[in-house]
């Protein structure tokens, strides 16, 4: 399946990936080749076949709702580039662009 540079632009935006024009063209070409190969899957008869998302059959693995050890606030913040008053600093959701 062929991907246009417009589609690459759209996908890159969805994936929050900065991609320049030159990269758009390169990825359109490379991803198209990969998707062409993957189109091979369309030839497989999967009528009445259940999808496998997890090879193990168990579901809903739980533990008791008991608090245990965890990282300290300092440890949890240690790798962040921007910290203020013991919190991660992030972009405002409602801020103007």
């Amino acid at each position: 399946m062929k991907l246009t540079t417009d589609q690459v632009k759209k996908v890159a935006k969805l994936a929050n990936l900065p991609v320049n024009e030159k990269e758009e063209e390169l990825y359109a070409e490379q991803l198209s080749a990969i998707l062409d190969y993957i189109d091979l899957l369309n030839t497989v008869d999967t009528k009445n076949v259940e999808p496998t998302f997890n090879v193990i059959p168990e579901k809903n693995i739980m533990r008791s709702d008991v608090a245990g050890e965890s990282l300290s606030q300092e440890e949890a913040l240690r790798n962040a580039p921007n910290v203020k008053d013991g919190f991660f600093v992030t972009k405002g959701v409602f801020a103007e662009e």
């Binding site: 990969i34 190969y37 899957l41 497989v44 076949v49 999808p51 193990i56």
Partner: protein, 463 residues
Amino acid sequence: MTFFIMDLTTLTLKQTLDLLEKKEITAQELSDAYLERIKKFNPELNAYLDIQEESVGIPAAIKDLISTKNIRTSSGSKIIENYKPPYDATVIERLKEKGVSVIGKTNQDEFAMGSSGENSAFGVTKNPWNLTKVPGGSSSGSAVAVAADLAVFSLGTDTGGSIRQPASLSGVVGLKPSYGRVPRYGAIAMASSLDQIGPFTKTVEDARIVMNWISGSDGKDSNCIHGKRIASSLAISGASYSSVVMTDLKGIRVGLPKEYFGEGLDSGVEEVVRTAVKKLEEMGAEIVEIELPHTKYAVAVYYIIMASEVSSNLARFDGIRFGGTRDLFGPEPKRRIMLGTFALSTGYFDDYFIQAAKVRTLIKQNFDKAFEKCDVIVGPVSPTVAWNLGEKIDDPLKMYLSDTYTIPASLAGLPGLSIPCGFSDGLPVGLQILGKYMDEETILSIGELYEKAVNWRTKKPKL
């Protein structure tokens, strides 16, 4: 009083443990010997990205994506180049309890995406058997660390072949455990329905020791719920990992999938692998032809499912809680994130992701059916021996196809062992032994017997 009658770095883990127990060597001497060798050879090989000079203990090399407390863990990427985890992965905690010390973090393809080591943001790792060749990937550094005696053993991860393939190309033992055998807590995630942490070792016996140390539920990986010890499906070795009761292969049915010996397999590699199969037969095994008819779809299935899971797992790199901005991803992660995002997007989800998941079921059923006729499945790990650095880097699809024999077992969650079985054009060839789900014991036992019978270990790369 100690004196060296041999180079400590040539010892296996078992030999090392024996000498430590008898107090004939100390952990300090061991670490010093390996550190000296690392200083000498790592500049050329680039197996290690980080070397812990203060390390004292049984030296283990750890793939860069496995969290090591306060030690750089960058998953081969510039985006978390300076990330130092505030905690150890479960497997690291377990190893430390046994006297193992992290002697360094090893190079890898960025975010475990690659089959050659060339996608690392920190330079390539070279194959110690021939410095112009790739060592395989994505656990390139971990394989080379063991191949060049720069560690007693190492840990890597295998999602589509990233332990087995570099083990094959670099001439060491590598094991991908069954999905759910070893807890993934602390391993930077690539594809969550496929990832497994596993060992690279000098011998199969060593692999069994490391597996014994790291396996079993830790309460932090919802897909790792079993205990540590599970008996062989052949119920011959009792309850523990520590003893081999098998003395020959009589009564063992070895399945040879015709799809793993067809077009695309290099003739030199085929010859070496078939010689190994003959050896298994001489040792008493019954060779059975089996078929895995959906093998040809495995790479396509994998690249949809893995890329989709990757697009989700790598969304956490937002530059807010850790790491830099997303422009710091290399081209391969960007490619795969986009492929996965596309496959999961509205309008394409059913045709790509769901269809791939359905074909995955068929691939798994291939194995279920085949294992009715055999106890293990044997074949090549890689269609070729190590190729030249730079040879496949411009053709992503060509690179992907080199994982054609390792991917199916990953999709089915089965354990796979790669064990050195000879050389072609002077480069190592690995034999792949696949087992039933949770049946590491059988593949390790067979591997160990084969290894003792042929003893390829005496051959080492000239450095």
